[in-house]
């Protein structure tokens, strides 16, 4: 019996979400009285692998193969399924990020294992196995029972606190070959997004809406984000207008994020916008209309002109940094 964790790595490195996942899965392993096994595929140094045991992994499984340097959904999911069978996994957890969303559904079919994606808490109960997840884009939650012996979960990002739970570092280097007939994804070009805080990874996000009035007004918003080490984001009309790049669009039809702190500047708070940001821990709204719906979702609000409030926020953060 084991809880198997599939961990993506980025050029051999893990991120905060990787450790959230290990913390989460190790807690489930405790609930079940079983071991947690952390599997990663690719070239990862020993000292990076060791970090997984700090957050509770009983054993690290490392699979390295030059054929697997790019994500091939069919080949990768077959390998993870092989490992799940080999170690007799009863629960398999992945992150609800791009690679987790790509692999978990295929694994569910291969292993005939019930899948619930985007869970944000430990299971409500393990027998029957019931988990809690957001549905209707945050307008409700559901308790979902998984009826199969093997269960697959994907964990929503930034929904589970890191746990410091050091275990002795034990690693097993796996020697499993991917089947060539499943390796069909040919990569022609890779463009790395560098130098910026990625929206999906950011702890703080500063986001602007149509209330920012024009593409030229973004200076103080970007300055605030830079000072806070935050990512910038925007509402849909803003990216539609071309004021900001499409990667920044958050909401129902854009990115879904859950930072610790979300600044909504000149954003009305339409339900489709809230669908992408309502899991933020704290929402701060700046809006000139005191009746804007965003204030119903926000913990803190300032009624005022964004162009006047932003410089004040920038100054206050500068002052804080000097202290």
């Amino acid at each position: 019996m084991a809880v198997l964790i599939y961990l993506e790595n980025w050029d051999g490195k893990f991120k905060k979400l990787s450790f959230e996942l290990v913390s989460y899965a190790s807690k489930i392993a405790e609930m079940l009285g079983s071991q947690s096994l952390a599997l990663t595929i690719g070239n990862v140094e020993e000292q990076e692998l060791e970090k997984l045991s700090v957050h509770g992994a009983d054993k690290v499984l490392h699979l390295k193969n030059e054929k697997l340097d790019t994500l091939d959904e069919q080949a990768f999911s077959n390998l993870v399924a092989d490992v799940a069978r080999k170690y007799n996994a009863t629960v398999l957890v992945l992150s609800n990020n791009n690679s987790g969303k790509a692999l978990a559904p295929r694994l569910s079919v291969q292993l005939k294992a019930g899948l619930v994606s985007g869970v944000s808490k430990l299971p409500v109960s393990v027998s029957p196995f019931v988990v809690y997840k957001k549905v209707y884009s945050g307008k409700a939650y559901a308790n979902v029972q998984i009826k199969t012996d093997l269960k697959i979960l994907t964990l929503a990002q930034n929904s589970f606190e890191l746990i410091h739970n050091p275990k002795p570092y034990v690693v097993e280097h796996l020697n499993i070959q991917p089947s060539d007939n499943l390796l069909n994804t040919k990569v022609k070009e890779v463009q790395k997004l560098t130098g910026k805080v990625l929206l999906s990874d950011a702890d703080i996000v500063v986001s602007g809406g149509r209330g920012m009035k024009s593409a030229d007004n973004w200076g103080p918003l970007v300055e605030l984000a830079d000072l806070l080490g935050a990512a910038t984001a925007c509402s849909r009309p803003v990216s539609d207008e071309g004021w900001r790049p499409h990667e920044e669009h958050t909401g129902q039809t854009g990115k879904i994020i859950a930072p610790n702190l979300y600044f909504a500047i000149g954003i009305s708070g339409a339900t489709q916008h809230l669908a992408g940001i309502s899991s933020s821990k704290i929402i701060v709204a700046v809006n000139s209309d005191k009746d804007a719906p965003i204030f119903e979702a926000a913990q803190y609000g300032i009624v005022g002109d964004a162009m006047k409030v932003l410089p004040k926020l920038v100054d206050a953060v500068k002052e804080l940094k000097l202290r």
């Binding site: 969303k101 569910s108 985007g118 549905v135 307008k139 979902v144 300032i302």
Partner: protein, 249 residues
């Protein structure tokens, strides 16, 4: 070349959801049903590819698992421009059953490209596309923000966390599409609405299949505490609160 777009029928995105039967079922009363926004964009891209005469795309079909009540939404997809539709006449208890029913219904229809939206706005699963590919035993590409056809074949752009990649896979494949796949959903014109009435919807009877998961109950979100207002002149106080009290900056 034939394209299939898988379509889910969801409450309009502005719906205030409510539940009945002791929080076990969605209250359908007064709900306006629409094509899932992502699937609408997928359909739009499929039609754009078909419009490009050099692309070799002959037909765009939509497939949906649902009872007869969802036909008006299927008609919308036909009015937007899909050539025909397949409806698998079954309830959709979970994504596994939906994907399995779709796979059975289309296995012998020789689609070259299958588009699925990244998620359905009801259960936010992000699961049907990958499951369908696995049932069909074909390749899948997730997080797709562009699909182009050129002389050399299909060119797919996918967005993995932190990088953008241009990839290709052999036909047939499932593309799970997201932001960027099309700019604006195509809107049905009067002529399209007239034509949709006579376009064929093939109704397929389902296989008996058991779901792997089951919703036990729904819950409403815990209401957030009322917003604390800070005067615009004292914006600096907000930063102190975030620093000292909430410790988020």
């Amino acid at each position: 070349m034939k394209i299939l777009v898988c379509m889910s029928n969801v409450p309009d995105t502005t719906t205030k959801v409510k539940f009945v039967d002791d929080f076990k079922k969605l209250d359908n009363n007064g709900i306006q049903w629409v094509i899932n926004p992502w699937d609408e964009l997928a359909l739009t891209r499929a039609l754009e590819l078909k419009d490009d005469l050099g692309s070799g795309v002959q037909t765009v079909t939509v497939a949906h698992v649902g009872l007869a009540g969802s036909e008006p939404t299927i008609r919308k997809a036909l009015a937007i421009g899909a050539d025909d539709a397949i409806r698998i006449n079954a309830d959709a208890p979970d994504a596994y059953v939906v994907a399995a029913q779709l796979a059975e219904a289309i296995r012998n229809e020789n689609f070259d490209m299958i588009f699925c939206g990244i998620e359905s706005s009801d259960h936010n699963g992000s699961t049907v596309g990958g499951m369908l590919a696995e049932f069909l035993g074909c390749a899948s590409v997730s997080c797709v923000s562009n699909v182009k056809l050129d002389a050399g074949g299909v060119v797919i752009t996918r967005e993995l966390g932190g990088s953008k990649e241009v990839v290709s896979v052999p036909y047939p494949f499932v593309a799970i599409v997201q932001k960027g796949i099309a700019n604006e959903p195509r809107i049905a014109a009067m002529r399209g609405i007239m034509m949709a009435r006579t376009k064929p919807i093939k109704v397929v009877e389902p296989r008996p299949l058991d779901s792997l998961t089951e919703v036990i109950s729904y819950e409403m979100p815990v209401p957030r505490a009322a917003c604390k207002f800070v005067e615009a002149e004292n914006a600096a106080d907000l930063i102190s609160l975030l620093h000292n009290q909430d410790k988020v900056i």
